[in-house]
Amino acid sequence: MSKILELQQLRKYYATQKAVDDISFNITKGSIFGLLGPNGAGKTTLLRMITGIFYPDSGEIILDGKKFDPINDIVKIGYMPEERGLYKKMKIGEQALYLAQLKGLSRSEAMEKIKFWFSRLEMESWWNKKVEDLSKGMSQKLQFVITVLHEPKLIILDEPFSGLDPVNANLIKDEIYGLAQRGSTVIFSTHRMEQVEEICDHIVLMNLGKKILDGTVADVKQQFKENKFSIKLHEIPALTTNESFEIVDQKANAFTVKIKEGFRSNDVLQFFLQQNVTVEGFNEILPSLNDIFIQLVEGTKSVSRAFQPIQS
């Protein structure tokens, strides 16, 4: 698979802090990529460099095989920042038209695309309304349309679901899948892990300006699994201790076991089967991204903007 974006040793230091410290990763075309990290990990700074708002202190950004050129490549990118807003007094249609034209679309092109998206998301009646008349969720939807309107190759969404009700969140989620299927790549920054687990193919976890995890969701989970299994038995067996595992948790006839090193899941099953107990369920417990996240980030005491200090 070809890569849409390559980051190579990207650095951005502020006066007293390292906001982004030597970050490299690649994003494959058409994938949905999750950029995770606690508040103040440097995600927004990183995204601002990818969108050309900030210049990196050092390092390279390669977009679609070529060195990123902020002025001409802007049309290839759609960015929905976390700090987002619209002109409150401007009519919605005009506003969408204006922002699309700023992206480099001609007036007629922009008009056509706005009509398409507005009808797709059932927003046609909004055209002459003002943003101040919209609810937060509605303006979020509008913001999403404005971001993807010009069919960018790379879509960057910073906390896209905040403030959306489940219905609209699903609607946007489906659109994100759709965009990825049509060849766009989506970078998706959030600290809501359940959404990441559901949507993303590939994740990178940042903390204190550094990359601490990089891989597909399945890989990461494998990497952090603790060999825990849940086993459900028909009745509680007489014997529950064995050298192959220890019981971590027991709820009536449902057990959570941790398999000791050197043993396999089959050893556990065999132990119960030998006692002639009916096994009703047996499956591996993989850690949730949430657990992994907390495990990795906890203890680093990142409150807000807790970048590493620069040692002079």
Partner: protein
């Protein structure tokens, strides 16, 4: 470039299409016009006719003193002070002047006017003038200067004709008009800088607080956004201004129609400061033979030059300051109060310029005026005061060209500096930005 145009167009249209734009553009000059018309009207018009008795016991006036339009003097004889007081109480007169029989024309005694109510300052002047005229004549006559001699003295012309070496006449009418034109245009630029400067600042603050700044900055360079905003609002200002000029000239033509005897009435009246220039000009006009003189003086003033320079300095000054206002706007966080303290360093030179301008309009070639008209932060205001006096009387051509060049250099400099501050500050949330930090951003290398 294209994006600057897009931003500018939005800024322009979103302001021009507002109802308040139409209201302020058309109503404001009307209100100012009506206001001034009322001031002139009331200062010219004295509604009550004053009736003053002159008890000339010394028989100095020979039974003759000229009454004026709104003050009539009655010479009465053989009345005692008591009876005069009595008639005053009975409101037979509004006041009386008692000239005692011992009054010495050449002496230092002063006359006293008693009235039953306070007399306005303008009317007082008029009464004084009437007595000055008549007493002066009597004194001269008592020195054996005959009436004929007196007339010939009075009719000989001792008025100095001012002219400059370039051969243009520089009479008082022209000086008065130059003064007024310089003062008004300097003041207008001052007001423009503030109105449109704060408009730019509020626009930037709005974008920052709405959180749309980052959305836009992801498709437009911050500098383009800033320049677009400045250009768009500048265009609004220009359009508004052209409408105002047209309206003001139109209304000016209406003024004499509304007050046909305005100029006539103004003659010889000391009008209070608001109208002092107009009054002086009008006075001069009367003395020197009317409308032709005014037209001549107006021809002496190079209006093409003044309007041309006005537009140049208006745009130059606006561009110079608006980028600074934009930088301040970008640094303001949630609290609009912050803007106040950040604005101070910008408003100081503007106010300084106004002070220099009031001096320069009198003495266009003083050292202070020359400095003020060259220094880019003050030149838009100060230079207008000098240009009104014409080239080369008020300002030499090379000074004008140098000042223009410096202004262009100045606004490129401020725009560059402001652009750097703006770029960083517009995305900075939740932190109060100080001048020190802004200075750091401005000087650091990009």
């Amino acid at each position: 470039m294209n994006k600057i145009f897009l931003v500018a167009r939005r800024e322009f249209l979103s302001r021009v299409q507002k109802k308040t734009f139409l209201l302020t553009t058309i109503l404001l000059p009307l209100i100012i016009f009506v206001f001034y018309a009322l001031i002139i009207y009331f200062s010219v018009k004295t509604n009550d006719n004053l009736h003053i008795a002159v008890a000339d016991e010394a028989n100095i006036l020979n039974g003759k003193i000229n009454s004026r339009d709104d003050i009539s003097f009655d010479i009465i004889k053989n009345e005692s002070l008591e009876s005069l007081n009595k008639s005053l109480e009975q409101k037979k007169y509004d006041g009386y002047i008692f000239i005692p029989s011992t009054y010495n024309l050449m002496g230092k005694d002063s006359l006293q006017l008693k009235s039953n109510k306070a007399i306005g300052i303008i009317t007082r002047e008029k009464i004084q003038k009437s007595f000055d005229d008549v007493l002066e004549e009597k004194r001269l006559l008592s020195l054996n200067i005959s009436k004929a001699q007196l007339d010939s003295i009075q009719h000989s012309n001792n008025r100095i004709q001012f002219a400059t070496i370039s051969g243009k006449s520089d009479d008082n009418t022209k000086a008065g008009i130059s003064y007024a034109v310089g003062y008004i245009s300097g003041f207008l630029i001052y007001i423009i800088l503030f109105i449109y400067g704060t408009m730019v600042m509020r626009g930037v603050m709005e974008e920052k607080m709405n959180r749309i700044a980052e959305v836009i900055v992801s498709s437009v360079k911050p500098f383009q956004l800033m320049m677009g905003k400045i250009t768009g609002i500048g265009a609004v200002g220009l359009v508004q201004f052209i409408i105002w000029i047209v309206l003001v000239f139109g209304l000016q033509l209406l003024l004499p129609l509304l007050f046909p005897d305005l100029l006539h009435q103004m003659q010889g009246q000391p009008i209070q400061p608001a109208g002092i220039q107009a009054a002086q000009a009008a006075q001069q006009l009367k003395a020197n033979g009317g409308m032709n003189e005014l037209m001549n003086s107006l021809h002496q003033i190079n209006f093409t030059l003044i309007i041309g320079c006005f537009i140049f300095y208006f745009l130059g000054g606006y561009l110079l300051y608006s980028s600074l206002f934009a930088a301040v706007g970008s640094a303001v966080n949630e609290d609009p109060q912050d803007a106040q303290s950040l604005l101070l360093p910008i408003t100081m030179p503007i106010i300084f310029a106004i002070v220099i301008m009031t001096k320069a309009v009198n003495e266009p070639n003083s050292g202070l005026a020359v400095f003020g008209s060259l220094f880019p932060l003050t030149s838009p205001i100060v230079m207008m005061a000098r240009i009104a006096h014409g080239i080369p009387e008020g300002v030499t051509l090379w000074e004008l060209l140098l000042s223009m060049a410096l202004l262009i250099g100045g606004f490129m400099g401020t725009t560059w500096v402001a652009g750097k501050i703006y770029r960083t500050a517009i995305l900075m949330y939740g932190k109060k930005i100080t001048w020190k930090e802004m200075w750091k951003w401005a000087v650091r290398k990009s």
